[in-house]
Symmetry: C2
């Protein structure tokens, strides 16, 4: 039979990255394209211990249905950590567990945006969340990103002129794909503008714990005086991506609607995953583990920056991230991005073309994303050497 696909999905393509992920299952390809955390960052030994303890002590909870809001001890630990460590969350805020921060972003837009509403975002931004927004048929309007964050004038211009703007989606720390961090001054400016134009800020912070250079900056959520910031956190980059556990801290009336929507999507997040996450947070080795992960990424990023300096034509510019998994390279004017990316894959190196991250699917890009997280140190060296061999015209 002929299948009539809904309007919301008819034009939507699978994430280019996840498609590349499938293509690069080939272990001989250098995986600079993945968004995967470093496998050596997972605390496998304690996950084994936690899992055994959970299934020995509390199998009936781990294996049974739970409430949609999340495993109560995990919610309590997260609320406490967000308050004590990050000064986030006040009266009127609530916290729920979701199946990855991706689900949190999707649920927030589902609860707050109608078809035809506008969401502002960084240009470029994270393709997974952009696609989730597209499936809700909201308009995406990208705001240029500078080295210290959004172009504030362009942001105000968009707030003044775009129709039905509901929300700004922003990744302030070590942004995906650019590796850029929003400065303190710009965090304040973003919050002030959101207030002036009465929109919601969706603050996505998947990499915030992975700072390996510079000073921690306050979350935008910590500046939130009137409940307009919805904060997304995740365990994917510090514990395990495969367990699919994230969380949302935000105004209770919005979170209540997100819970209703989550019931319809997956009822609740896997209990075993949530219970592992709760033990991980309460673990007395937690802080030392984070430090170990930061050191790992500091070294891998350093190696990638060294390799770039050694092998790349200096006309290729790049960001210098202070944390996270990614950096962003830009080809000189006149170079064809897709030719470069195809030449890379022909040499056995997968990179993600910047076009994948554009809010405007018709837009142009001269940039590509590299990750230093998933590849080994040898792969970083080898991959950059191979990329360096691609002639620039």
């Amino acid at each position: 039979m002929e299948y009539r696909i809904s309007n919301r999905l008819a034009a939507l393509k699978p994430s280019a990255i996840r498609e590349i992920f499938k293509a690069t299952d080939n272990p001989s390809i250098v995986p600079f394209a993945l968004g995967n955390p470093a496998p050596e960052s997972f605390p496998v030994e304690v996950i084994r211990t936690f899992t055994k303890e959970i299934l020995d002590e509390n199998p009936a909870v781990a294996l049974q249905y739970g409430i949609t809001e999340g495993y109560a001890p995990l919610c309590a630990l997260l609320r406490e950590r967000m308050r004590d460590v990050y000064h986030c969350g006040r009266e009127g805020d609530d916290l729920i567990v979701v199946s990855g921060a991706q689900q949190g972003a999707e649920l927030a837009a589902k609860a707050l945006c109608d078809e035809g509403d506008t969401v502002l975002c960084e240009n470029p931004s994270f393709i997974g969340v952009l696609n989730a927004f597209r499936s809700l048929r909201v308009n995406l309007k990208g705001i240029p990103l500078h080295e210290d964050g959004l172009d504030i004038e362009a942001l105000e211009q968009a707030l003044r002129t775009e129709q039905r703007v509901r929300m700004l989606y922003i990744i302030p720390n070590f942004q995906n794909p650019s590796g850029i961090t929003t400065s303190l001054e710009k965090r304040r400016a973003v919050y002030a503008l959101a207030r002036k134009y009465n929109i919601i800020i969706l603050e996505d912070n998947p990499y915030g714990e992975l700072r390996f250079a510079g000073e921690d900056l306050p979350h935008i959520k910590s500046m939130d005086e009137d409940g307009r910031v919805i904060y997304l956190g995740t365990f994917s980059k510090i514990l395990s991506a495969g367990l699919r556990v994230g969380y949302v801290l935000g105004p209770a009336p919005v979170l209540q609607k997100m819970v209703v929507a989550k019931q319809g999507e997956d009822v609740h997040t896997a209990m075993l995953s949530q219970m592992i996450a709760a033990r991980f947070l309460a673990w007395n080795g937690f802080a030392a583990h984070l430090e170990r992960v930061r050191t790992l990424y500091r070294e891998k990023c350093g190696r990638m920056l060294d390799g770039i300096r050694r092998y790349f034509d200096p006309r290729i510019t790049h960001t210098t991230p202070q944390g996270g998994l990614f950096l962003w390279c830009t080809l000189p004017e006149g170079m064809q991005l897709m030719d470069y990316c195809k030449a890379a894959i022909a040499k056995g190196v997968a990179v993600v073309p910047g076009t994948a991250f554009l809010p405007d699917t018709q837009g142009q890009s001269q940039s590509f994303r590299l990750t230093f997280a998933a590849p080994s140190e040898e792969q970083i060296e080898q991959g950059l050497r191979l990329l360096g061999g691609i002639p620039l015209q």
Copy 2:
């Protein structure tokens, strides 16, 4: 600030059952309202073994991102089982893993239905999926359910007269909430009508493995000659509900769009959960375990039917399920359902009023749902005795 909730969620209430679930966290309440499988049905010992093996042998896969379509070995085992045991799936069909069959239903409607399209369903039907459909702003049209399944004349009448009918949602085995099983004849009639009126059938079979009386009947999917049946299966009732693993067998072009939508919702289903499910399917104790679970429910259902005969006023009628978790009781005309349910909770027994399961939220019901799965045998006895003490006028 004031929060403007999207049109799709503004009117949607949390599932009455999940709300009752929260209310009945109180262990002194007899839990006849839950949809939980019996905790003693979970094969805890082998789950411990599988989990240890997975984390010892393959932690890098269990803890890392996976592809959205699902863990390949699990998909292969499921395709094989669906083909060899149930004669389901042919050329043009594909199989994906989802985070519970609930997600499968939501994704199917998301891929196939636009706002204002109509989905037909049994009246009453499963509230979780009905709410997911509502969040997509489709119209629900309930078809009366008789003891052997849908009223076929009413179904054809609806297909003839309703506007923009895209899909029929049906639970043919031991339906939730009614416990009713669709006869072979009616399965054939349903498929023939779907073909005649060119609609999709969404066949949800969460309880199919739990038959404890009568003969197995073929899935509607096994009759599917032209790729119009999307089949939903789950591990929630035979392995663990908390792991959140379900699967979808259906036409590849539709599943491809469901995969795109799933990327936006949760990227993929928890890897550890999927890997446990794969080992469970390959386990040489699998068949014996299913037989043990069926025996458990046969005994619990028998005990509930005995108690009903012993304690209930014979003017309360009830279904006699051949499997699953639920039976459905109907009060005599003139009795107020909500008075009865409130009297039940006052006596310490939670039941779900039938109104929760109506496709038409303004509809009336004289029925309530009981489960024999979650309560212990003592609770079944005690709960029915207490319900029997509620005066009928």
